[in-house]
Symmetry: C2
Subunit: 231 residues, 2 copies
Amino acid sequence: MPTVPHLEQHFTGSARVRDVVIGMSDGLTVPFALAAGLSGAVESTRIVVTAGLAEVAAGAIAMGLGGYLAARGDREHYDSELAREQREVVDKIDFEVAEVEEIFGRYGVARAAVAPVIAAFRARPDAWVRFMMRFELGLEEPDPGAALRSALTIALSYIAGGLIPLSPYFFSATARDALGASVGVTLAALLIFGYVKGRFTGTRPIRSGLQTVLIGGLAAAAAFLLARLLS
Amino acid sequence: MPTVPHLEQHFTGSARVRDVVIGMSDGLTVPFALAAGLSGAVESTRIVVTAGLAEVAAGAIAMGLGGYLAARGDREHYDSELAREQREVVDKIDFEVAEVEEIFGRYGVARAAVAPVIAAFRARPDAWVRFMMRFELGLEEPDPGAALRSALTIALSYIAGGLIPLSPYFFSATARDALGASVGVTLAALLIFGYVKGRFTGTRPIRSGLQTVLIGGLAAAAAFLLARLLS
């Protein structure tokens, strides 16, 4: 008999892994494509490095702060719904009973069959509230402190990912020289990253690796061609 | 008595709105910050426009294709879990009964009180499978065609958002001249966008607008300062 909800098992890996994936997949892809695109238009590695680092800083802040505010919003949403349900199981008990009957009715369970369940809920209003949060509203209680941890993890993963495609530009004389090395290390990093991500998320790892390479490669190719056309 | 799950009401607005928000919030922020950053380092609007459009192309592809593959992955995950549950309500019926009892046990409902519900499920295995998908696994059936629609919506919203901060650079002689106009139109767009997003997602609209401006402004300021330091 399972002792934890399957839900937990299916989002294999923790929220931390998910945040690393969010930050790193964008961090590897967008600065890579930007650097490749600029290499099609300018000679100077200085401009590519400046644009690339500016993009990494902006992306890390936008994603990290965006993630922080989204997580804080989830917390506020959860708390306000919790307060509403806590009032409803006291003040609007007939309404809550009707909601439980309606939930089960969608699965072919008649009102008479639900009556013993409702009797159990009436005896434990706290459990009833938890049931409604999870099964009526589909809300899980957010982890306190999750917002800040999530923001930092996403931002640092974006920076770590973004420095990989930019690194060859630090050491090359011209942007065109650096481009080949950047493509090489980044496609390799995308393949490894996609493979590992596949293992954590339950997708077939090799297919996940190839998909990740495809996204990064197409984005970089489009940026390169567009920049060539413009210059 | 509600006739649709509350879940639907709480994700106010449709999946389409959510995709527009995902695409446009990044589209307004990152190209804006990149253009601002480059304006701190180079004179030529041509380089800013080239880098900005390359970033918009790369970001739209990365986000759109990433969203497409994520949605397709959700579909495959749903189908494989559905097939497993369909087998289990036939082959491992005692195990499924124990799972239902365990789910309710977490909410203080005794096995005896669950028995009539289980009897109803035994009479309708299809409803039982739907119940387990939703209440054991927390999975909703993905909308067919959602993956492609979602990808296109995210990508086009990213492009629409990204062209706003870049537009002044098309018409100005120097990057520094364009910067002020870009900051003005983008902060106004971020405020309006955040306000509208707040109305759709149930956050207080004015606070949502100010938060969106804060994210975009901080990202752009960081990119600008970093690029100044490097040049």
